[in-house]
Amino acid sequence: MSASHDDHHHGPAKGLTRWLYTTNHKDIGSLYLWFSFAMFLLGGTFAMVIRAELFQPGLQLVEPNFFNQMTTMHGLVMVFGAVMPAFVGLANWLIPMMIGAPDMALPRMNNWSFWILPFAFAMLSSTLFMDAGAPNFGWTFYAPLSTTYAPSTVTFFIFAIHIMGASSIMGSINIIATVLNMRAPGMTLMKMPLFVWTWLITAYLLIAVMPVLAGVVTMMLFDIHFGTSFFNAAGGGDPVLFQHVFWFFGHPEVYIMILPAFGIVSAIIPTFARKRLFGYDSMVYATASIAFLSFIVWAHHMFTVGMPIAGELFFMYATMLIAVPTGVKVFNWVATMFRGSMTFETPMLFAIAFVVLFTMGGFTGLMLAITPADFQYHDTYFVVAHFHYVLVPGAIFSIMAATYYWLPKWTGHMYDERLGKLHFWLSFIGVNVLFFPQHFLGLAGMPRRIPDYALQFADFNWISSIGGFLFGASQLILLVVVIKCVKGGKKATPQVWEGAQGLEWTLDSPAPYHTFATPPDPKLIHAQ
């Protein structure tokens, strides 16, 4: 054993191969985060094309078919390339430090689950340069658009999804094994930071639904290339079957993209309110309830497809039930801030904006859950506004909050607070100018995924596009902040934030390459 002991304390390897061959959770976390940021810019570029085309009515910039490719690729790249890998990157960086573990449980597989991702996205993006064009059937790839009427590049899309799924499953297995097996002595389940709890539950959701996604794209593959008729009624199948299987994956997927965000916000708000989280236990139970409910609400995405009335009612009520645990969380955050000694550094600003704007997205979600009302809202810009409110000032703001919050721990330097605040305010204004008018567009009846629209929608679209360009451009500030912070800046203390709690703050800043090769002193582990 002592021979291997020496391996644990050397620093990182030099050069490019450090990143290609690494088994270190911090390196792999950084790889995930940089990859995610690159995909965020790529998916953002697609979004800019969409907003530029919609700036005025009429067809100005792109062909309708290319517009469809843009909406499809924007959704796929943002969901699978930006948001999910960012959370996995944060999990890699933080979970071992938070639970006092020397690394992830399965370090080599950790490297594999990252490195297959760039290949998957290279394959997916390469379809943009193929004659048939990129997938153009929307990120939800409903059959028969994605089967009978799909461009031939759908084959590469299917295999890309398979690889992304394999990556998520391996990543999740690793996270579960780490959390269940690698906790330092004294780190009981109910002492774990909420970010670890939310990720444990997220990982469970991922392992449960990514194989279902693999199943549905496999059925597509067979329908397209081997003549099966899963999604073709002429052979006894049903296109609606596609939607059921897809959304059985898709709805838990929505929570996969938000539960870790809850964990991040639950770490940041107590720090800057200088109070303990109002109700730790209830947060854990609320997270578990949301995860359970996520499996029995999928058909609320398909109210207008023609389901039996009993199904419509069941899925309506089940969906509304989610408001209860989500409300528990929101009240928890608000009660934590109540009478706290609050300061408003950039992570806190993003976290507060998260609470307010995510709640708005939640409320529009409740409106959409009402079956008869959904018949009016379905496939309009109201839906687009709803899910962008939960995903952009929801999931993505939480990722930004996390970046600012832990950046000093990762780099050893404080970031530029003025630039950080500028980034926050421009993002905050931009995101609301971008998405708030889309509620009105949707209520007035503007359908989603169209390159041209009736004249009465012109004003709100113009405003929305301006907000989009502002939001898009502001993200370059984040890049500047991060690069500046990596290169230098005021030295960060181990504690970094006065009110921060948790094992990661007992380590030096920057955290050493290998941490907790021996478990931390159990006295350092406190109840949350």
Partner: protein, 308 residues
């Protein structure tokens, strides 16, 4: 070493080339395969794509072989603490759970077509009106022998499921014998495990060989049944929803049995080489868990695809 009490040092492997090159192998495999499929559809030559895919798959297999060898070597070198071994146990358990969910998607699809889409196309129930308009003469029966539109999807002549509850029927019914074979193989692999735990290597090798033989026999019978289905029943992948669900479910199961048999062969080879100790043999256990898993899936298949 400064570790406290019962906490051994967790072995964190040094940097490794395995996963990155495995990624290249995986990418070439599927990118090549995608091109093969698209070339076939466009009636173009598949030569380049086939070679790309085969090269990728060879690379991937080679790397995985190296990878597993490394893990085994590390264990023999005593690098794996009990805690590390538990990581492998959790890893395999959750991998099997992901496989369960993969099959759940196909079982769910079978449930949906049998209980909703086929009856509705046949004009029954809540949404029957669509079927009345599209294919008024289509009759909702399972298995679907006459497809709604047999111009597009040629109907099979006959179904392959249990249509007679008699001893003589089951006596000549291949899937019934396959059930017997797989259930028996689950017992034999368990005996192999018991022998291993008792330190009885001969018993381990003979029970494990028997399990492998049963796995291969299952696959042979399954192949015979597929030939029968294609030649005599007109039941093919493209013969409508019955064939689609039948072949996807049994096909993916057969693929998993193949993989499981391969794992058992590897374990047999290792047993012959003297690997495994009565108290340290998780590689074997993982393969046997996998084997029990494919067995359980088959029981589900036998009930929902053949019996009901």
């Amino acid at each position: 070493m400064a570790s406290t009490g019962s906490h051994e040092t967790y072995y964190v492997p040094d940097q490794t080339k395995l996963p990155f090159f495995a990624s290249i192998g995986l990418f070439l495999t599927v990118f090549g395969l995608g091109n093969v499929l698209n070339d076939i559809q466009a009636s173009e030559s598949t030569a380049v794509a086939t070679w790309m895919s085969l090269f990728g798959f060879t690379l991937l297999s080679f790397i995985l072989f190296q990878w597993f060898s490394t893990v085994i070597r590390e264990n023999h070198a005593g690098l794996n603490s009990d805690q590390l071994k538990r990581s492998y146990v959790w890893g395999m358990a959750w991998f099997i759970f992901s496989e369960v969910m993969f099959f759940a998607a196909f079982f769910g699809a079978l449930y949906y077509v049998r209980n909703f889409s086929v009856p509705w196309i046949g004009g029954l129930g809540d949404k029957g009106i669509t079927g009345e308009i599209l294919w008024p003469e289509f009759e909702a029966v399972w298995p679907v022998i006459n497809n709604p539109d047999s111009q597009i999807f040629t109907s099979p002549h006959e179904a392959l499921n249990v249509h007679e509850w008699s001893v003589s029927f089951f006596a000549s019914f291949l899937p019934f014998w396959n059930t017997v074979i797989l259930l028996t193989s689950s017992v034999t692999v368990h005996f192999a495990h018991t022998a291993l735990k008792a330190g009885n290597r001969k018993g381990l090798i003979s029970w494990l060989s028997l399990t492998v033989a049963l796995g291969v026999l299952f696959l042979v019978l399954q192949a015979m049944e597929y030939i029968e289905a294609y030649d005599h029943y007109g039941l093919t992948l493209d013969s409508g929803i019955y064939g689609s669900t039948f072949f996807l479910l049994t096909g993916f199961h057969g693929f998993h049995v193949t993989l499981g048999t391969f794992m058992l062969v590897v374990m047999l080879t290792r047993a012959l080489k003297g690997h495994f100790k009565p108290d340290d043999h998780f590689g074997f256990e993982a393969a046997s868990w996998y084997w029990h898993f494919v067995d359980v899936v088959w029981v589900g298949l036998f009930i929902f695809v053949y019996l009901l």
